[in-house]
């Protein structure tokens, strides 16, 4: 099982990086969030809330975009049926593809973080390394993995039932827009007392408790999505034509 999973994952990485579009979009992300943003952000880049918020959201977009291609792309390019006719188990195919997308989203987030810290130190550190607090680093590393899993799970569910990549991407991008604007609208509509409570929860001694609660909620959502993927992935239902 692990050998098969690895075979599918490596193939997924090749799919992501063996075409010009994949390499260019990855380089653009690394340049934007690993070089430009830290260079312009000043010393506050490593201390404020921007860095963790950015690197927790980033994998969500990256993984959601890439995961649309995983099954819908293979279906569109007529390679899915041959893969399904092989000896690979349902789980090896599903988990291998998920692993490729999750590791891509998470990997780019961690690479952006590393590059961003180097850039910020060189630009604003006056010869000293600029590092965020240890708990912020831990939050970034853990939460970016959980959001990668979230996007990969949701994206896979959509991709499994979409006949084309375009359709899968449309559903996923619409969902992300609804999530962002919906969150903003709800935030604005909240009573002032609730807003105050929310701000308090994101600062001071309550921050760690909030981060743990958020992490637990994301983990629960990931487990539910992974279970849904495993239950939905049945090769006898994947050939749509």
């Amino acid at each position: 099982m692990l050998t098969d999973l690895w075979t599918v994952t490596v193939k997924g990485w090749k799919d992501l990086f063996l075409y010009r579009g994949g390499i260019i979009s990855t380089l653009v992300v690394l340049a934007a969030f690993g070089v430009v943003q830290p260079a312009l952000g000043g010393p506050e880049f490593t201390r404020g809330p921007f860095l963790p918020l950015l690197l927790i959201w980033l994998p969500l977009f990256l993984a959601a975009t890439m995961t649309a291609d995983s099954f819908a792309g293979e279906r569109e390019r007529h390679t899915l049926e041959t893969l399904l006719a092989s000896r690979l188990s349902d789980r090896a195919i599903l988990l291998g593809k998920l692993a490729a997308v999750v590791s891509y989203g998470w990997g780019v987030a961690l690479a952006s973080l590393s590059l961003g810290l180097i850039t910020a130190s060189l630009a604003h550190g006056h010869g000293r390394p600029l590092l965020p607090p240890a708990n912020t680093l831990a939050v970034i590393v853990t939460m970016s993995l959980l959001t990668s899993l979230l996007a990969a799970g949701a994206g896979t569910l959509v991709s499994l039932r979409s006949p084309t990549v375009r359709q899968a991407q449309q559903i996923l991008s619409t969902s992300l827009v609804v999530l962002i604007f919906g969150g903003t609208l709800i935030g604005r509509a909240l009573p002032a007392a609730w807003k105050l409570r929310f701000v308090t929860a994101l600062s001071g001694p309550q921050l760690v408790r909030t981060e743990l609660a958020l992490g637990a909620a994301l983990l629960a959502a990931d487990v539910v999505l992974l279970a849904a993927c495993l239950a939905t992935f049945h090769r006898a239902r994947l050939i749509l034509d």
């Binding site: 050998t3 098969d4 075979t7 193939k11 090749k14 799919d15 063996l18 075409y19 390019r77 007529h78 390679t79 049926e81 041959t82 893969l83 399904l84 006719a85 092989s86 000896r87 690979l88 188990s89 090769r235 006898a236 050939i239």
Partner: protein, 316 residues
């Protein structure tokens, strides 16, 4: 008697608007090349998909190597190779990388991969182009690479959906030879669909004819040809309408027509041809050559299609 490799009993598959496979019952003996013949949309690809467990039947059952296609399809796929409707090649990987990926999927050891991949690429004339992306290749070359991929792990059963489609005559003949050799020498069972009836006649030990999902006939190509009316083909001059009318009036003649300058007479049973030749000579026909034989598989196939179309139970 050995167990057939493939056995279907009343296999049926419905889609929302059509019954793709209708009560199909066939048996495929081990080590044979089994031809599955039928026009477009007759249910051939759907049957292969059901046998590989890629879609589930809505009725009946099928076993492959004794494994049920519903419950044990993973066991079937472990023992099979498949070239399906599309070549299914990864356009972002080179020809060699495509084979490398599937060699890993089939768990070929590193030493075996290093030996088998060049061997197959060379065999199909693709060695010089192994580093190219198949996206830019012709249909025939893609098909060759896809066939090589299906043979990679030396499966005991090969499903081939139109394997010679897009191949040039030389490559198609080489592949036919390869398949016949695999069946004869290594006991591989080949289940292939084709529109090419001459190919099926040369290659297949058994053929099944299917139309609108229904099995119309099954047997050795010679048996099917024997089921057609015996015929006489006459080359010569002077095949007038009067001559044809005289022939058609005779009780031993089922039909007479001129095709490609030759007179083709279909006989009722094993009637003698001598009186017919005599009739033609007296009518002033100049005869150069007379050949008595059976219908070709293509003629049997077309007759079966026509009969099914005329049948009161067939659809619109």
């Amino acid at each position: 008697m050995p167990e057939p490799v493939i056995r279907t009993r009343g296999l049926t598959r419905d889609f929302p608007s059509v019954r793709a496979v209708d009560d199909l019952s066939v048996e495929v003996p081990a080590g044979t090349v089994f031809g599955f013949l039928g026009p477009n949309g007759s249910g051939k690809t759907t049957t292969i998909r059901m046998l590989l467990g890629l879609i589930e039947p809505t009725g009946g059952r099928a076993t492959v190597f004794g494994f049920d296609t519903r419950r044990e399809s993973d066991q079937i796929r472990c023992r099979s190779g498949a070239l399906l409707e599309h070549p299914g090649l990864y356009d972002r990987l080179s020809a060699e990388e495509n084979l490398e990926f599937y060699a890993r999927v089939w768990r070929l050891e590193a030493a075996e991969r290093e030996r088998r991949i060049p061997e197959l690429l060379a065999h199909f004339g693709l060695w010089e182009r192994r580093r190219e992306l198949p996206a830019d290749w012709s249909r025939g070359m893609k098909q060759k690479l896809a066939v090589a991929r299906a043979l990679l792990h030396r499966p005991a059963l090969l499903f081939l959906d139109e394997p010679t489609a897009g191949l040039d005559p030389v490559a198609a003949a080489a592949l036919r030879e390869e398949l016949a050799d695999l069946a004869a020498r290594e006991g591989v069972t080949v289940f292939l669909t084709t529109h090419n009836l001459a190919e099926a006649e040369k290659l297949c030990g058994q053929v099944a004819v299917i139309r609108a999902g229904k099995l119309l006939a099954v047997g050795h190509p010679d048996e099917l040809r024997a089921s057609g009316a015996p015929r006489v083909e006459i080359a010569g001059r002077g095949f007038s309408q009067d001559v044809l009318a005289s022939l058609r009036a005779r009780p031993e003649v089922a039909g007479a027509e001129v095709a490609n300058g030759r007179l083709v007479i279909e006989l009722e049973g094993e009637a003698s041809t001598a009186p017919l030749i005599s009739l033609l000579v007296h009518a002033g026909v100049e005869i150069e050559d007379v050949r008595r034989g059976k219908a070709t598989l293509e003629e049997v196939f077309l007759t079966l299609m026509e009969e099914e179309q005329c049948s009161p139970t067939s659809g619109p």
